[in-house]
Amino acid sequence: MTAFGFPLLSLLTFLPLVGVAIILSVRGDEKAVASNARWTALWTTIVVFALSLVLWAKFDRSNAGFQFTETVAWMPQVGLTYKMGVDGISVLFVLLSTALTPLCILASWESIQTRVRDYMIAFLVLETMMIGSFCALDFLVFYMFFEGVLIPMYLIIGIWGGPRRVYSAFKFFLYTLAGSLLMLLAILAMWNFAGTTDIATLMHTVFPKSMQMWLFLAFLASFAVKVPMFPVHTWLPDAHVEAPTAGSVILAGVLLKMGAYGFLRFSIPMLPLASADFAPVIFALSVVAVIYTSLVALAQTDMKKLIAYSSVAHMGVVTIGIFTFNAQGMGGAIFQMLSHGVVSAALFLCVGVVYDRIHTREIARYGGLANRMPGYALAFMLFTMASVGLPGTAGFAGEILVLIGSFKVSIWLAIFGGMGMILGACYMLYLYRRVMFGKLTRADLMSILDLSPREIMTFAPLVVLTIWMGVYPSSFTSFFDATVNSLVEHHQAALAATTKLAGVAH
């Protein structure tokens, strides 16, 4: 079935569903069911994470191609196979998903009290969809997982969300669906042209230029919503604010990465000409996203909204990096995605900590927390610094690589992209000052407690990762260097081939 001996990726993808089956089979009073659901979900996700470490250990870092591949005939009549595999780009996202999900379960341990069973089921299904979309090597299989994410996420926001949860859940669902349907149309067009939806084949299919333009726009509609890029980012602050803490964590940590991953996996290798032509548009939109949303973040009074806008800005840096088409920019973008996945997830967890205690996210309601919560203040500080991009933390390597990459394209791009780092420092430090420093004035804050052991357990892995990624980034970059290099070569070869053809024609 697979070169590796057993279908590791399918196992990773579908193991959470076994957890769902176990949770569903438990009967009893509500309390017992809830506690059982929590523990089952936690153990399932931990086992999945442990299993995914095999990828870390056995992944051949010098190989740019797909590894751990599995193939099963599915619908031969339309050239559709169930095909899974990872390469340097996707392997770390699989690990990111498996690592963040147990933390999400832990973070929801006490904050979710109603319909715990349904909640845990939704999260496990979500994990299946996330891992599946990063492992899929067939475009339609990818699409099915990519769309499938909507179902659990819609329910998570809608059922366990805040007061405006219905509006946010609808907005999230319909924005994403509208974009993805256009992508589906593009997939059909590709299938019609190439006779298959196999990703590896499509990567080496040369689509006519006019067709590439349309396909690119259709992909853009889907991925831009997911990333999210300006001007279709407006669903994100709403979804983040209303989602429960763990929902925000997974949304910022993993789901946003799917859009950028889509650019890397589909748009650029399959549509090199259109990507090159549209790069200036992407740059423009990204720069607007970086500067505009940073300024918007500065004005926020709600902690989650602030971090949500900062996500849009950070993802703007990612899209700049991706479309520089050089090894530094792309590698930096991937690293930035990973670090943002860890750091923004951690920041949302930080908000969740105080929200669980005081039940408000109004920045003005806080102040002076550092006095009562030194441990929390330390963790928050680290993640703030990482978000700002301080050297030695996860955020640094990605941003600097993207800046180097964009310098090669245009100095103005680098300057405008770099503005994001400056503004990022402004709004994050401003947030930190307002929440942590100053005098404790409010009565309910006087008795606020520092991190509980469960919360420390949630933060500890993220703290370690943040420092590790900052101090020794090459243990992560080594995964994707080979793949990124081959992607760059592939892109340049494709462009060169057309110029050559054009030369012949003239």
């Binding site: 031969p76 769309e147 059922i159 669902f173 349907l181 019609n192």
Partner: protein, 473 residues
């Protein structure tokens, strides 16, 4: 003359009459018994079908081919589900009459004849047999004003459609000189024989069939009839007759009039777009779930017509796969709707589902699956159906149609997820009564089928492929 080809139809008709006689002679309440016998009759017919031969019989008027077999099995399955769904409802609503399952049997015979028709006359007979049974079914709750109104409305408009159909048939016969599908195709293969009269006749026939599948602009009757008819009848009307009519539509357009593709393709594209768009927008404001389902089915017919408008074997395959997913999703959905009852009273407002996720999690989960499937969200069956239909549109280069279809899909997702919102996000309404086993079985079966269809679609796809090939030869 090979009459054994029609053995399943003959068997079903005779069994239907036998059950009718049995019900009349047996002086006690025999609704339940007759229902069971009818289910048995349908299953026996399916066995005859599978064991039966293939070929053309009755002097070219009747064809038993893989296409007919595929559709007939689907129709039989839909009829069985229809009878099961009616069992408990009819007990409760005082519709405990043994004629009910018998009428469904007759309607099914009509549908089977429709599917096998290779002559305009056979086609008409099948359509009428099917329709007459359903007119009566729609008015089955005769003491209920709305049901009688629905039956009457459907009858009057249906009669009009039949008239249009007959008129179209007579035009085609007049200008081509034959009623036989194969002969018509032969005549029309020569462009010199394609006169305006034939084209008008084809458009008339297409209009009448569009009425039967309730496509825009012949959809007006649908919401009222769906709402007024007793819920199990609505459930039945939304599945089996739609399948048969769509299959017939496909056969008529492809087999005798295949050479006129250029003439009818644009007409179909227009009705398809109209149906998809109307289905998407008109359903939004509905508060009654049966009315909503009416608009939803208009939308689904629009998607099916996308496959028909593609005018290719791939399109026909898409239609068949879509119909499979449609029938089972629909049956499950209606099993839930029929089971909506509070303190013994049937309720059918969407608001009545409030908080269902809390008060009856199983039903809410099943409904959620059906709704996501109808919205075309992967991995559910509805997505697979849509995928195959849109493949055909793209393959035939109908980009505008595909694009509008996608847009309509996104819009219609809104009202589907709105019901999910009512079930999960809203405050609980007083809880609904427990559902009887028969409905739970259908809903459960539908939910499982809808969920796992994507894992093993290959056999269905292969069968649909073979069926489509039978038409295109």
């Amino acid at each position: 003359m090979n009459w054994t080809l029609a053995l399943p139809e003959i068997v079903l008709a005779i069994l239907g009459m036998a059950i009718l006689v049995f019900g009349v002679l047996r002086k006690q309440d025999s609704f339940h018994l007759c229902s069971m016998l009818s289910i048995g009759a349908l299953i026996a017919t399916a066995a005859f079908l599978i064991g039966g031969g293939s070929g053309v019989g009755f002097h070219g008027q009747f064809s038993a081919d893989p296409f007919a077999l595929f559709v007939k099995l689907l129709v039989l399955a839909a009829s069985v589900l229809g009878i099961i769904v009616s069992l408990d409802y009819n007990e409760h609503e005082n519709l405990r009459r043994f004629e009910f399952p018998v009428l469904i049997l007759y309607a099914t015979v009509g549908m089977m004849v429709m599917v096998s028709a290779t002559n305009l006359m056979t086609l008409y007979l099948g359509v009428e047999l099917n329709s007459l049974a359903i007119y009566v079914l729609a008015a089955f709750a005769r003491d209920n004003l709305r049901s009688s109104e629905a039956g009457l409305k459907y009858f009057v408009l249906g009669a009009l459609a039949s008239g249009i159909l007959l008129y179209g048939i007579s035009l085609v016969y007049g200008f081509s000189g034959t009623m036989d599908f194969a002969d018509i195709a032969k005549v029309l293969a020569n462009p010199a024989n394609v006169s305006a009269g034939v084209v008008v006749g084809v458009v008339f026939i297409a209009s009448a069939l569009a009425f039967k599948v309730s496509a825009v602009p012949f959809h007006m009757w649908t919401p009222d009839v769906y709402e007024g008819a007793p819920s199990p009848v609505t459930a039945f009307m939304a599945s089996a007759p739609k399948v048969a009519a769509m299959a017939l539509f496909a056969r008529v357009m492809y087999a005798p009039f295949g050479h006129l593709l250029g003439q009818w393709q644009n007409v179909l594209i227009l009705i398809s777009i109209g149906s998809m768009v109307l289905g998407a927008f008109a359903a939004m404001g509905q508060g009654n779930i049966k009315r909503l389902m009416a608009y939803s089915s208009i939308g689904h017919m629009g998607y099916l017509l996308v496959g028909l408008a593609a005018g290719s074997q791939i399109g026909l395959r898409g239609i068949l796969i879509y119909l499979v997913s449609y029938v089972f999703t629909n049956a499950g959905m209606f099993a839930c709707i029929v089971g909506m009852r509070r303190n013994g009273q049937s309720v059918e407002r969407i608001a009545d589902l409030g908080g269902l996720g809390k008060t009856s999690p199983g039903m809410a989960a099943a409904l959620t699956i059906f709704l996501f499937s109808m919205a075309g969200i992967p991995p559910f069956a509805g997505f697979i159906g849509k995928y195959f239909v849109f493949i055909a549109a793209v393959n035939s280069g109908l980009w505008t149609l595909a694009l509008i279809g996608m847009a309509a899909s996104a819009v219609s997702a809104f009202y589907y997820i709105r019901i999910i919102k009512v079930m999960y996000f809203d405050a609980p309404a007083p809880s609904l009564d427990a559902r009887p086993g028969s409905l739970a079985v259908v809903a459960g079966f539908g939910a499982i089928f809808t969920t796992v269809f994507f894992i093993f679609p290959a056999p269905v796809v292969a069968a649909a492929d073979a069926a489509a090939k039978a038409i295109f030869g």
